[in-house]
Structures are given as structure tokens and as C-alpha cells.
Amino acid sequence: MSKPNDHSAQAIPTGILVSVSGDPTEPERPAPKRKSAPRERNGQFPWLWAITAASISWAIAIFTIGVCTTSNDVPEGHEPSAINDGVTVRAIARMTPTVKLAPAPSKPAPNPVPQVHDESPTEIALRDTAEPPIPAPAPATPPPMPPVAVVAVEPTPVANATANVEEPKNAKPVRPVRPDTDLGVFANCDQIGSSILFMRSPPDAFQKAREEKKLVFMVHLSGNLEDPGFT
């Protein structure tokens, strides 16, 4: 018979009963793996190298275009023009006959006779349409502005915007009164620069218009027509 404190005795099994819920056959999900973004060696995009390469390629392209333009269009022996407008200079050069001058006497002249090269208008038109216009590069600094001269200008009299009947007295010289003008019937409008005869009395004017079958030209105004200062 064994004793309770005997180590050789068989151990009593112990455990905890747990109720199982769910499908025990479902496999466990794998742990999500952390994705790491592809990076360069240093972990950054080489912007400096990209910008440098783009700048070099752009400079080469501009240089190539410039070399092609000058070598194709400027004839030999021509002085460089002060105007470097690509399209305009080429058009002018084509419209005028090109004369190739003889080279300097130090060099052997392959063709001593000046060669005159004329182009027909059709050729000019074809070449103009074939070649796209290449704008010349803008100058780095704008040309200096011409000096502006400040000149004192005397004020000129403004054209009178009113009718002739309202011109002030000092605008025009006083005209003499018509010899056939009855100042008892007509206002003396010559002093205000009008040659129109205005009757003083509107009722008389309407009566006269009825008799002569004319229209009446009536002027309503602020002030007195006879007095140029009050018109």
C-alpha cells in the first residue's frame, strides 16, 4: 500500500473543462504580414539626378535646334543681322535673291563667279509651309526704355458739347446783328454765337408756324437766352 507522500505513487490527473464554441475544424488565420514599400538603397527617390539629367537633355535639345537653324538659313558671306527674328529674317532672306560672295583671296576660290540663286514663289511657299516657325529665344533683359520727355501742354479749348444757342459769350467773337433782324421780334442771339433767329414770344412763334405751315423749334432752358451769362 502506497503512502500519500510517496513520490513513486501515480499522479492524480488534473485539468480544466472548457466548453468549445464554433467550428473546431476551421483553420486559424495567418498573422497579417506587414508590407514594406520598395525603396531605394537610401530609402528616397533620387530627385537630384533626375533634375540634372533633364536639364542636360534640355540644353542639348536647345543647342541642336539653334545649330540647325543657323546652319540651314544663314547664307555664307552675309553679315549677321541685328534683327534675329527667326521667321521674319528667313522670309526676308528668301524673298531677296541670295548672292554668294567670293571667298577671301587667301583661300582658293572653287567658283569665282558669283552665284545668283533665285527661288520661285512656289518654292518659297513650299519651304515656308514645310518648316515650322521656331521662335527666337527672348532676351534676358528687356531693352532700355527711351527717355520720356515731359512737355508742358497748354490746355486746349474743349469742343462745345452744347447747342449753338448755349455757347458762352467769350467762346466766339461777337457777331454783328443781321441788318434784317427786328430785335423787337427776335432775340439778339448773334452775341452768343448762333445764327438762328429765335422769336421772343412763343405764342407768336406758334401763330407764325400755323400761318407758314412750319414746325416750331422750341427750346426750354434754364436761364435767359438773351444773356449769355445767364444761359
Partner: protein
């Protein structure tokens, strides 16, 4: 002007003359009337000589055209309605020419409401299209106060 018109004038407003000679206020309106006082055309406000001469020619021509259109050539009798219709059409055409060129040749009537914001000449055409051949006594207060925004006054010109 004196060949086709009998010219006259009337003071209906006033203005002030300042000490330095500058004028303050004041305006002018021109009317082309029949002998019985009915208004054929009006030019509100100041204008130059060319414009005034052009408007006077238009007034003369529209009156002659209306008279010819309304007169029975056999009897010499004048139809007043035809006369008014011709004047209305003339002012309506000029009103649309002043305001909107698309309707310049249409003869639809002018709007019922006063055309605020239009030119003074367009407003004058509107007035005479709505009130054709109205008496001068009825027309000039409207022109002076509504179109020119002036005040009718019998006061003399004041100096200060």
C-alpha cells in the same frame, strides 16, 4: 433751321452762378412741335450742333411722312389716326434702335413701364410713342423732371 422751323425759347428752370463764374445746375430741352402745340419730337439735354441738326431733320421728315400718309390725296382730308400711327411707329422704331438693335425693325409696341436706365433720348422716344402728338404743356414737365431730373422753377438766375 429758320427755313423749316420757327424758333423760339422759354425759360423753365434756373441755375446758380457762383462768384468764380461757374454755373451750377441748369439744363436744356428742345422740342419740335406742330403749329397747334402738339409735340412731334424732343431732344432732352445738351447736345452738339450736328446731333441737333440731325434730329431736326428727322422731325421734319417724320412730320412730312405722317402728313402724306394720313392725307387723302383726292379730298385733301387728313386722317388723324393715321397721322398718330405714323408718329408712333417712328418713335417706336427709334426707341428700339436706341435700346436694342434686334428689335429695330419690328413694330411691337414700346413697353408699358418707363424705361429706367436707358438713354435720355430713348426715354424721350418712349414718352412720345406712348403719348403721340401730346400737347407741349403736358410733355415738357415730364421731360424736365423725369428725364432730365431738373426742377421746374420760375425763379430768376441766382448769383451767389
Amino acid at each position: 433751321m429758320n427755313e423749316n422751323f420757327v424758333c423760339t425759347y422759354l425759360k423753365v428752370g434756373t441755375f446758380q452762378v457762383l462768384n468764380n463764374g461757374q454755373k451750377q445746375g441748369g439744363n436744356v430741352a428742345s422740342y419740335f412741335c406742330l403749329g397747334d402745340g402738339r409735340v412731334v419730337h424732343t431732344v432732352p439735354g445738351q447736345t452738339n450742333a450736328d446731333k441737333l441738326l440731325s434730329e431736326s431733320r428727322w422731325a421734319y421728315e417724320i412730320r412730312k411722312s405722317a402728313l402724306t400718309h394720313a392725307t387723302d390725296l383726292g379730298t385733301g382730308r387728313v386722317d388723324d389716326k393715321k397721322y398718330r400711327d405714323k408718329i408712333i411707329r417712328g418713335h417706336t422704331e427709334r426707341f428700339y434702335a436706341e435700346t436694342n438693335a434686334r428689335h429695330a425693325k419690328s413694330y411691337s409696341p414700346v413697353p408699358l413701364q418707363f424705361p429706367h436706365g436707358r438713354s435720355q433720348q430713348a426715354q424721350a422716344h418712349w414718352l412720345l410713342a406712348r403719348n403721340p402728338l401730346a400737347k407741349l404743356d403736358a410733355v415738357y414737365p415730364f421731360v424736365w423732371t423725369k428725364i432730365l431730373n431738373e426742377e421746374l422753377s420760375d425763379r430768376p438766375v441766382a448769383k451767389r
